[in-house]
Symmetry: C2
Subunit: 237 residues, 2 copies
């Protein structure tokens, strides 16, 4: 269904470095045409737009994934059949500006998800790309230390992203999480900052229905995924 | 589909006392025949077994809900089409014993959900029932202070429950969460302790697919639901 979120695995699992197994791309794209994720052993950043999947690698290269053929898997991904309910020009001088604009465009949605997309000319896009695990189960915090960053100027492309509720941190990434890919499909990554060159086209939709698929393989099953939780246990114990 | 979990709202919302709105019972039971939940303004404990819904109130009375007729709503509920994949006799001298038995019966499932049911004769069942909110948005922690407790001895009935992953605390209740209802449908509540009288019948199933429905009403949208989350933000910011 349109604007329902298919959520494969949880961010807490990625944090623990669970990156060997996952959902085959060809199954993933049956659930959505718009989204984000990562690749086996966290080798780069995944972006999915208009049903096409791209791998944005730390060497700066972009690989178009043939998701019908590949047997390779994504250990984490979020996708939706994106059907924007609101489309409007926006103007922003940094990532926080864009975030503030979205909060105004979608009032009373902080406890639900947003899917969004921004298309146009950007005067600046700063990205990072994950380098991939150097050993099995290397944690995301370690990978983060050697991320590669790029800055693009005067570039046409698309931002693809999700806003996730604060209280679902650990399942998703709380707040705004967005990836970028150029119109030429030759530049992109996980967005650290973005500046629109004049007005660009924003489109978005609220998502209230989440299909969370927990992995079933032993790598996931054996991971130690934790969350401190005394408060709830007091009243529900 | 069998053994998929339909999850209406999140425990963090209940904790904040969001109890005026919810899912109509007749919609809820389209998603499952086995489950737990609560009622408008947290008036008692919900148990759903074999597709029948009961309200277990703090005065000790049990009301069979006509879910086809009612327009009333549940602010929180978890239900599944329960089709046990494992059925076996069990023996336990307290709730922890039962929990330990389940851990042995279902190895490598700690990061997924379990649905379970125990039927038979119990030498002791200790329950509590929530009293209901005395004012709008009274928090669960306050209700908890005046819960009513009951102890039943030599009683036939059913335990209906779920085990939820530790890292999903706040979405669900981490660990085991079970309600009891007697065969006579005249006693029950949220289980604090349970002792089997000899062997009783355990049945269970793993659940990996979760359909999380976030509410769309203003009461939910305006609630302040929080979870501290610095770690993930460091690597995903």
């Amino acid at each position: 269904m349109a604007n329902e979120l298919y959520h494969y695995s949880v961010v807490s699992s990625l944090m623990e470095g669970i990156g060997e197994s996952g959902i085959p791309y060809k199954l993933l794209i049956q659930h959505g045409d718009h989204g984000l994720g990562t690749f086996r052993r966290m080798a780069g950043e995944m972006i999915c737009l208009d049903g096409n999947v791209y791998q944005m690698k730390s060497d700066g290269s972009i690989v178009a994934i043939d998701s019908s053929a590949g047997t390779d898997v994504a250990p984490f991904a979020m996708v939706t059949r994106f059907r924007p309910t609101l489309t409007t020009p926006v103007l922003f001088s940094n990532k926080q500006d864009l975030s503030d604009a979205m909060t105004k465009l979608f009032p009373r949605t902080k406890n639900r998800y947003l899917a969004f997309r921004v298309d146009g000319l950007f005067s600046k896009i700063a990205v990072r790309t994950a380098d991939g695990q150097r050993y099995k189960h290397e944690k995301l915090r370690e990978l983060h230390k050697r991320q590669t960053t790029y800055e693009f100027t005067n570039i046409r492309g698309s931002l693809i992203g999700f806003r996730s509720p604060e209280f679902l941190q650990g399942v998703s990434v709380a707040g705004d999480h967005l990836h970028f890919i150029s119109d030429e499909r030759d530049r992109g990554g996980h967005v650290l900052d973005c500046v629109s060159d004049g007005e660009v086209q924003f489109s978005g939709a609220v998502m209230s229905t989440i299909h969370l698929q927990l992995p079933e393989d032993d790598e996931y099953n054996d991971a130690e995924l934790k969350l401190d939780s005394d408060g709830i246990r007091v009243v529900e114990g």
